[in-house]
Assembly symmetry: C2
Homo-oligomer: 442 residues x 2
């Protein structure tokens, strides 16, 4: 075994950083065997070196001075675990300028500035590894970048946000509404104090951008596709979907359709028989299609200290063996590739779940069906219960009538046709808000 150690530094010692440091310290013999040489934790940079920590580091490792990493020529690789854009971006550039390979879990940064950072690293002959940036413990970056390299990936459908998936699972399982379940998730540590980025679809969309760059070799930006989170979902719709044989998932989709890329993040009805429908709780899952391999599925913990640390350590071992630089040079990501056009949202065809709140009067449903029919939207199934639960049966203040829900599953139609129908439906006096619409992934 070659005995030249790999010297590593860590920037940031929060949840994931602590996990990484723990594995490096507690399993150094295991890692040395698998890396072919020892991996030394030489420096950990934090904002406040005096703060009490979960893990005690060897003397002299902890510092609040970044220059002790930048100016230390013995440090080969830096695990950069600061979130957000700045100062993470500047630090990453400085690390590359200082000749360090970089490992990061910062999906927001890669999503927004990946092209700049990757080009910078290529120019400086350094590598950026980012297994931990997407889907935590599921090694999806290695799978896309190396293991499925024979394939043209044609479709990615994924559950990429564990918080949202936990909340959706709990809502249906316990019959409790979004707000209550979110508070429960926060108590259990499955949702952060400010859960916005998780529940509004941003986190999943950032991860989808990275996966799409990697799988399709095309530049996409967060603003280039539709995203919707779970924060406005009502329990009733999860229950109707269940009744129809579907599970609602926050699905991130990127798929090639006739030379364009169909891309979105949104709550989607997934047929109960599909593996994606069966992923409960805080887990992530990806279903991917490639032109050679067919469909493969990958599932596991999408976040958390030790699963994410496991991904970071895999990158460290790849760096120690020399695989990381070889992989980085060849990744189809933020590279010169002909761009693939993104399909405009109104052209994307899907089956849809629609819920209308209607005044309980004769002929109301016929009016809706007529409008949908005239817009070319044909109906696959309809639920209108004779006696909806009291919670769904509400008095209408204007007419003193009763408002009842009508649920419709359409055949395949475009979002454009639905938009046209929406305008006509707006004119109906018998409809009450909200009108719910979710696509169906069969």
């Amino acid at each position: 075994m070659s005995q030249t150690p790999l010297s590593a530094a860590l920037i940031g010692m929060g949840t994931v950083g602590t996990g990484v440091a723990r594995i490096l310290l507690e399993h150094s013999e295991r890692l040395a065997r698998r890396a072919g040489r020892p991996i030394l934790l030489r420096r950990v940079v934090v904002q406040n070196a005096g703060k009490p920590r979960d893990l005690s580091l060897p003397d002299g490792v902890l510092t609040d001075d970044l220059s002790r990493v930048l100016n230390d020529s013995e440090i080969d690789v830096v695990v950069q675990l600061i979130g957000g854009i700045e100062p993470a971006r500047s630090i990453m550039r400085s690390l590359i300028d200082a000749g360090k390979d970089v490992i990061t879990a910062n999906k927001a940064l890669l999503c927004e500035h990946g092209e700049e950072l990757f080009n910078h690293a290529r120019e400086q002959s350094r590598s950026i590894s980012f297994e931990a940036a997407v889907a935590g413990g599921i090694p999806i970056i290695a799978v896309l970048g190396r293991s499925l390299a024979a394939n043209q990936i044609t479709s990615i459908e994924a559950i990429l946000n564990g918080t949202s998936n936990f909340i959706l699972t709990q809502m249906l399982g316990t019959g409790r509404p979004y707000g209550e379940v979110l508070r429960h998730a926060q108590e259990l540590g499955y949702a952060e104090a400010d859960p916005t980025m998780d529940v509004d679809g941003t986190d999943a969309a950032q991860k989808l951008v990275i996966l799409t760059q990697l799988a399709f070799g095309t530049k996409v930006s967060l603003s280039g596709f539709a995203r919707r989170g779970i924060a406005d979902l009502e329990l009733a719709d999860l229950q109707y979907a269940d009744e129809l044989g579907y599970t609602v998932k926050l699905l991130a989709v990127s798929r090639l359709v006739g030379g364009s890329l169909e891309m979105h993040v949104q709550p989607t009805l997934v047929h109960r028989d599909r593996p994606l429908a069966k992923v409960d709780g805080a887990f992530n899952m990806l279903a991917m299609e490639g032109d050679c391999v067919g469909t493969t599925w990958f599932a596991g913990p999408g976040a958390g200290r030790m699963p994410t640390a496991s991904a970071v350590i895999a990158d460290l071992i790849d760096t120690a063996t020399g695989r990381a630089s070889r992989t980085f040079r060849r990744l189809d990501v933020w590279h010169e590739q002909p761009p693939i056009p993104i399909q405009p949202a109104e052209k994307i065809a899907n089956r849809y779940y629609l819920r209308f709140n209607v005044l309980d009067r004769p002929h109301v449903f016929a009016e809706i069906a007529d409008i949908l029919g005239r817009c070319g939207i044909s109906l696959a199934s309809i639920i209108q219960h004779e006696s909806p639960e009291p919670a769904l049966r509400t008095a209408d203040s204007k007419t003193d009538g009763t408002v009842v829900p009508v649920v419709v599953m359409t055949h395949r139609t475009s979002a454009g046709s639905l938009l046209a129908a929406d305008q006509k439906l707006d004119a109906l006096a018998s409809l009450r808000p909200p009108r719910i619409r979710m696509p169906v992934a069969d």
Copy 2:
């Protein structure tokens, strides 16, 4: 892009070989981009160069003369797709001696002679890549060898034989017996004309040996653990399991329990809520636990021309980039590691599914329960239908009585206790063969 091509040869052009050649010829530009250099198919060695082929190769590529590969110093890497032990083993040694890196899908050969071949390759500084040897299109070798390298793997539970899984799924789905479903699977191409190795558990056990070597770094042999196939399974037991909330799967298990390795391949009841229970048809799935990552799942096509070719091509690209040699040097497989003892079968503790065929007379069940109880086996649930289907209600030739099935789920017990109970049960006059026993994976 460096323009020095990687020159490859293929030995064998059956199902997988044809797939590999097709990808190399049809997607050369894609592969060159991902490998950083062109991958040229320089030679394909077959037994009969005159036989009509699915795919036409460029002039001069096809040959029946192995020496045109061995003596061609321009060939860097050889994809060796001959099955069985000889001449595959001798050819592999000759290829290594001739300075070639080798890629193989031959699980039987690696299972039996992996240690010899890996040591030989290490001595000659060549690499052996074998992603295609286990689970077809699922990149499980890369996942174990690289992506989960931070972890001590603690458990592998896997469906590794697509033929068996297809047959089990069809039996339960159509209500038809084993023999009929096997013939159907043969017609569809899901089972070979001689399906022995698939349905007797040998194929899954060979794959489990390779995975166990890789995950636990310990030497195991095919004869060192229990294996049982699906050929003697009766439809009734699949149906009773279903009634109890379980699906019968041919499960390959390798798990660390108190410093020993528990290892077996056998039909197992898997609780319906577990992902492994939901893998239908010819797919494979692996559920793996690591001490850092927790549980991860990987599923996909476990066999077939293009999925397996996808795995071979990934190895070719890894060879072209230089990753393969770096990975091979560091694999915890057929390497100097302290061996882990295999848990003796009689000590392995499990819950069990038991079916007894009993004469329909008073007190018979009490006798069975008494024997089980005296052997320390406690019962979790019992099914004895008041009116079993006629097919299961058989006349007993000796007594003119009726034989009815009694199904029992036990609490956790050792195989040793069951063996002791078996001897006592043998003495009961009211039992008729067969007695069915399957472990339960909760």
